[in-house]
């Protein structure tokens, strides 16, 4: 594959570098901040068209431009950027997975998140406050020991801790033997934490735009034209684009976009609901997860408690909340933290999850030449955004998938080499 590579240093003129000094001078002069990304007319041809302006699509665009000098790239997004899963997840980042492939992959993502703010010159508010998965019975404790040992082999900070230690780290949890599901231990993962998901999307968009990528919002993909087994053109609501390379980064909608190219995926789309409370003074430091109670909770920098759950019991493209979710959630949270009984929920929402049969993502080429997928991210896509973007960009530039993503090819379903990543989902599905 041949791309026009832009030589020399990227032009730094247009972008304002954010810094404390800029904040002070702008504050005093009250001059308006410049736009962080530009609106462009749709060009008639691009080297690469990325479908989906979420964290995966924008990160891929950014790493294509930064690491490989491929800047003639369009990101087409049918709504506004970050309007799908990237703005609806619970913003948790961790790497304590069950398999070696999974642990390695997400560990790379954490490493990228750790330096993302300085890479992008955009504060993504990454807070590594620790990630605690509670065990309520012996069998979960056994799986956690297994996970901890796999993690340690990969050099990831992860350990099984006692209920006393749980109480010390999160005093508001009920660690007595009174609840129906008492806490018998936990998997403690200090590098895990939360990050502001909108900032990650905006940071990538700003940095990619600066390197020459065109971000087309409110531009819906309507078709993919395939000729002699390869991509030749895409059609959008704003006109056609000639291209030889299309990357599908559309998560919950990925089956529909792939069908345009005649590619079938082993994906079903399910909503996952989340909710947030009114803000209160900080009392909860780590991210708390309970698989048995199907819930996870963290406190944002603003003081709101953010709750997530498992996916809904049937497939759907509807992003509406349900009453069963809130009542079920309240019951489970009160088992864990009886003290929050008087807190009020501010809002609830749903995001669409592209579930695969083995809870592993699908990254790689398809039977249509030039049509690549970065999908199947289920309930764990946000935390993988940076590493997926980096790996997909390298795959496009080098023409073949790198080592980290080799286990996640689409052909594994026909070959029968599934990944068995049971640690992928924080809570059981």
């Amino acid at each position: 594959m041949v791309f026009a590579v832009t030589l020399g240093a990227p032009k730094m003129s247009r972008r304002t570098r954010f810094s404390a000094w800029k904040l002070i001078t702008h504050g005093l002069s009250r001059s308006p901040w410049p736009k962080v990304w530009e609106h462009h007319d749709l060009a008639s041809a691009y080297d690469v068209v990325i479908v989906g302006g979420g964290v995966h699509g924008l990160a891929t665009a950014y790493y294509l431009a930064r690491n490989h000098g491929i800047t003639n790239v369009a990101v087409v997004e049918k709504s506004y950027i970050g309007s799908g899963g990237s703005g609806r997840n619970t913003a948790i980042v961790r790497s304590n997975y069950l398999t070696v492939e999974g642990s390695r992959f997400y560990d790379r993502s954490i490493k990228l998140y750790e330096r993302l703010a300085s890479d992008l010159n955009f504060n993504v508010m990454f807070s590594q406050r620790g990630h605690m998965t509670l065990a309520h019975n012996d069998s979960s404790l056994r799986t956690m020991r297994w996970r901890a040992e796999v993690n340690k082999l990969e050099g990831i900070d992860s350990a099984v801790i006692s209920p006393d230690e749980v109480k010390r780290l999160a005093p508001f949890l009920d660690t007595s033997d009174l609840p129906r599901y008492p806490i018998v231990g936990a998997l403690w993962h200090p590098p895990g934490g939360i990050v502001r998901h909108d900032a990650v999307v905006w940071g990538y968009a700003r940095a990619a735009d600066f390197l020459g990528v065109h971000i087309h919002q409110e531009t819906e993909l309507t078709g993919i034209d395939v000729g002699s087994g390869r991509v030749v053109r895409v059609r959008t609501s704003r006109g056609p684009i000639s291209t030889s390379t299309v990357i599908n980064c559309t998560a919950g909608w990925s089956s529909l976009v792939s069908a345009m190219a005649g590619v079938t995926l082993p994906i079903t789309t399910r909503p996952l609901q989340a909710a947030v409370t009114e803000p209160v003074k900080h009392f909860l430091h780590p991210v708390i997860v309970s698989g048995s109670l199907h819930t996870y909770v963290s406190q944002t920098s603003r003081g709101e408690l953010v709750f997530g759950a498992s996916v809904d019991p049937f497939t759907s493209y509807a992003t509406r909340g349900s009453l069963e979710f809130t009542t079920g959630l309240a019951g489970h949270i009160l088992e864990l933290m009886p003290a929050v009984a008087n807190m009020r929920l501010l809002r609830q929402w749903a995001g669409l999850c592209d579930m695969t049969p083995d809870y592993g993502p699908i990254i790689g080429p398809t039977e249509v030449e030039g049509f690549y997928v970065d999908v199947g991210w289920g309930t764990y896509g946000f935390k993988a955004g940076p590493v997926a973007g980096e790996s997909v960009a390298a795959m496009i530039a080098n023409g073949k998938p790198g080592k980290l993503i080799q286990p996640f090819g689409l052909d594994r379903f026909e070959k029968g080499t599934l990944t068995a990543e049971k640690g992928a989902a924080a809570v059981g599905h």
């Binding site: 079938t264 994906i267 509807a318 026909e414």
Partner: protein, 86 residues
């Protein structure tokens, strides 16, 4: 919450049922592994009207065929599963 009108039990809440996914024709058992795996894993995952299988686990314990719009969650047809209806 969906209300599913079970042909055997009448209107019931969806939490009495297990969702069985979209209805896909099953290949014959002596087919090649690649075809069998496609049947196991590949899904149309359409957005709109979908023919799907449900099991009334907390009721009559019978399998049902349901046509549901998976954006609006409207249900337009519930039939018993049998030899004729697939």
């Amino acid at each position: 919450m969906l209300v599913i009108v079970c042909p055997n039990c009448g209107p019931r809440n969806d939490n009495e049922f297990n969702f069985g996914g979209e209805v896909i024709p099953r290949p014959s058992v002596d087919t090649d592994p690649a075809t069998w795996r496609r049947y196991l894993y590949m899904r149309t995952n359409t957005s709109g009207w979908q023919r799907e299988r449900w099991f009334h686990v907390s009721g009559c314990r019978r399998f049902l065929n349901i046509e549901r719009h998976n954006v609006t969650n409207e249900i337009r047809l519930v039939t018993k599963m049998g030899r004729d209806s697939g």
